[in-house]
């Protein structure tokens, strides 16, 4: 099976007074896994439902391999979907659930049973064919739902937060498996999620949506290292806003002078955006900073350090070092020598008010 190219062109959809999609333009390349990432209410699910045919855009069109499918009814679209909530038919066992679509298309029973068994094996559940949904765990149900979505060999696979109802461990295994399957089948896949870690770890490209508009679409590394907008910088990973002085293509921040990445703002005073892992802290009794909070996360510990001038900086240190950075420890703070992003100065107080978008 080959993936199709999917294009959203100027998609608009409003529900009453809320605008879910505000002119979304996005192209998904054949065979790629694109994650639609954004906070709740950003329109990511609406975009997916427009593609599946459960919502109709007020304006704009959706093209699959160049063909306009905006007005095609949901049951005649070539897209398999896995839903957020458990969606298996409770009256059918796993095998019949998987073969439902084939039954609609009047595939002979023997053939569709063989195919269903093949798909159940593909999702790692060869022996659950006779079980009913209520006899399966949440993870197994979503696997069967994935097999069901793949049964008709669709050219687009739509995943609407399929992992959000599962517990953390199952979520990680299943997302790796989805990715493995997607790569081996080469099917164009759109994955809606609000979990940035999920998006960054699975996707070929990540599209960040905000208020129904596309903020940035890029591969995970670019998105993380070079966020196009402050919103993306905040939403994907944690970000420090440090006051800096720009001169030419260099910026002075925390006493260091670093090259500016991309465009430098017009004003001299600017915010320098630095990831917590690019902040170096060393215990130093002469140091300017004091560790306020240390939260241990296993492989790393995230420190909140207050500097002499009152600025607060988030810094990640290796987990095994966390003992050296107990709250109250005096530390010296530096930055990794590499180009930094600079944005125009945000309003006073805004930097402190930015919530830390934690890994879910």
């Amino acid at each position: 099976m080959n993936g199709a190219r999917v294009e959203f062109r100027g998609l608009r959809r409003r529900f009453g007074s809320t605008v879910a999609l505000d002119g979304l333009d996005l192209t998904v390349e054949p065979g790629e896994l694109l994650a639609l990432l954004g906070p709740s209410g950003c329109g990511k699910t609406t975009a997916l439902r427009c593609l599946a045919g459960f919502e109709h855009p007020d304006e704009g069109e959706i093209l699959v391999d160049g063909a306009d499918i905006t007005r095609v009814p949901a049951n005649r679209r070539d897209a398999g979907m896995v839903f957020q909530s458990y969606s298996l038919f409770p009256n059918l066992n796993a095998r019949d659930n998987v073969s439902f679509g084939m039954r609609v298309r009047k595939v002979p029973a023997a053939k569709r049973h063989a195919r269903a068994q093949e798909l159940l094996e593909l999702v790692g559940l060869p022996s659950v064919g006779d079980r009913y949904p209520h006899q399966l765990s949440g993870g197994q149900q979503q696997r069967v739902a994935l097999a069901r979505a793949l049964a008709l060999e669709p050219r687009v696979l739509l995943l609407d937060e399929p992992l959000s109802a599962l517990d953390a461990k199952v979520r990680v295994t299943l997302r790796e498996e989805i990715r493995r399957l997607q790569l081996s089948l080469g099917i164009t896949t759109i994955f809606v999620t609000h979990d940035q870690e999920e998006a960054l770890s699975m996707a070929d490209r990540v599209a960040v949506l905000r208020d129904g508009r596309l903020e940035q679409v890029a591969d995970p590394a670019t998105l993380y290292d070079r966020p196009a907008t402050p919103f993306v910088a905040e939403f994907v990973g944690a970000m420090n806003h440090l006051p800096g002085l720009v001169s030419g293509d260099r910026v002075t921040v925390l006493g260091q002078t670093l090259p500016v990445e991309g465009r430098a703002p017009a004003t001299a005073e600017a915010d320098v955006l630095v990831r917590p892992e690019a902040v170096l802290v060393t215990p130093d009794s002469e140091g300017d900073g004091i560790v306020m909070v240390s939260s241990f996360r296993g492989s790393t510990a995230r420190l909140r350090v207050r500097l002499g001038d009152g600025t607060e900086v988030l810094a990640d240190v290796p987990g095994h070092d966390s003992a050296r950075f107990a709250p109250g420890t005096a530390v010296r703070v530096g930055l990794v020598e590499r180009p930094v992003l600079v944005s125009a100065r945000s309003e006073p107080g805004a930097a402190a008010a930015v919530p830390e978008p934690d890994v879910v």
Partner: protein, 289 residues
């Protein structure tokens, strides 16, 4: 010491109470059961005794034997069952798609539908039948040859009075709608139908293959309530002069009191059997899922 005393007496005092607490509800349970049993069983036993007591010979099942040979028994029972089945089919055909459509397409209309479907409970049957008979009697002579008039005549055919089916559908609406709505509430209609649509199913297919199979017990209870209503409805059939089963019992009670009571006991038995069959059908579906 003063502070110690209550500490000592509290556990001592509460121990017998704790022991007695479970026993007291059990006693009350028994009392409630006995009262309920007396309330329901005494009339039944009295009816039964009345039917089997012959004036001179003591015990006799003659009255039950006479049921089947009594004139009009088979016809009226079949008529009532036929009306019941027709009503069930029609009320399900009306309410199920409506309830599904409202849930999927216009959730805001749900309270409206609920009120509309509950209205028949508020209107007394006597008002209802007065309206119906007025409509049926209306029709000036010059309309006699029109299809409209023919229709009015046809729905009053005493062999199968369609007008009763229409009236019973209205009466059954509250029960049918409540059962179906509860059944729809138990499944995620939206996600299930979207999943089915996504797999290529048309709307009729979604309804037949996805929603109805998952609504079997709700539909069984809607059907049973409707059937029980039709088998017991007296006012409307009586005032429109159709001889349904309850009306036949009423008529025969004038001439053969014993047989009419025997029929009542017998019809109660039939109703119970139907209830048992329907609820076991529902249970089988539930355990099969």
């Amino acid at each position: 010491m003063a502070s110690l005393t209550p500490q000592v007496t509290t556990p001592a005092g509460s121990a017998p109470a704790r022991g007695g607490r479970p026993r007291r509800p059990r006693v009350w349970r028994g009392v409630v059961l006995v009262i309920a049993a007396v309330y329901f069983l005494v009339p039944l036993i009295a009816s039964f005794v009345f039917t089997v007591k012959a004036p001179n010979q003591g015990f006799s099942l003659d009255a039950y034997g006479k049921i089947f040979s009594a004139e009009g028994f088979g016809g009226s029972l079949l008529l009532s069952l036929g009306l019941g089945i027709a009503t069930i089919v029609l009320v399900l055909l009306l309410t199920l798609p409506a309830a599904v459509a409202v849930r999927l397409g216009a959730p805001r209309l749900r309270p409206v539908l609920e009120v509309v479907c509950t209205l028949p409970l508020v209107v007394p049957p006597i008002t209802f039948v007065a309206g119906i008979s007025t409509v049926l009697r209306w029709g000036p002579d010059y309309l006699a040859s029109t299809p409209f008039y023919q229709t009015i005549i046809a729905v009053q055919n005493p062999d199968f009075p369609v007008v009763l089916v229409l009236a019973y559908v209205v009466l059954a609406l509250p029960f049918a709608y409540r059962s179906l709505d509860a059944g729809l509430g138990a499944i995620d209609v939206r996600t299930l139908s979207e999943a089915a649509r996504n797999l290529g199913a048309s709307w009729p297919h979604v309804l037949l293959r996805v929603i109805i199979p998952n609504m079997r017990s709700a539909m069984a209870s809607a059907s049973f309530l409707t059937l029980a209503l039709v088998l017991g409805e007296f006012t409307i059939a009586r005032l429109l002069s159709f001889e349904t089963f309850p009306n036949w019992i009423y008529r025969i009670s004038g001439s053969q009191a014993q047989v009419s009571v025997a029929v009542s006991v017998f019809s109660l038995l039939i109703t119970w059997l139907l209830l048992l069959a329907l609820s076991s059908a529902g249970a089988r579906q539930r355990s099969g899922v």
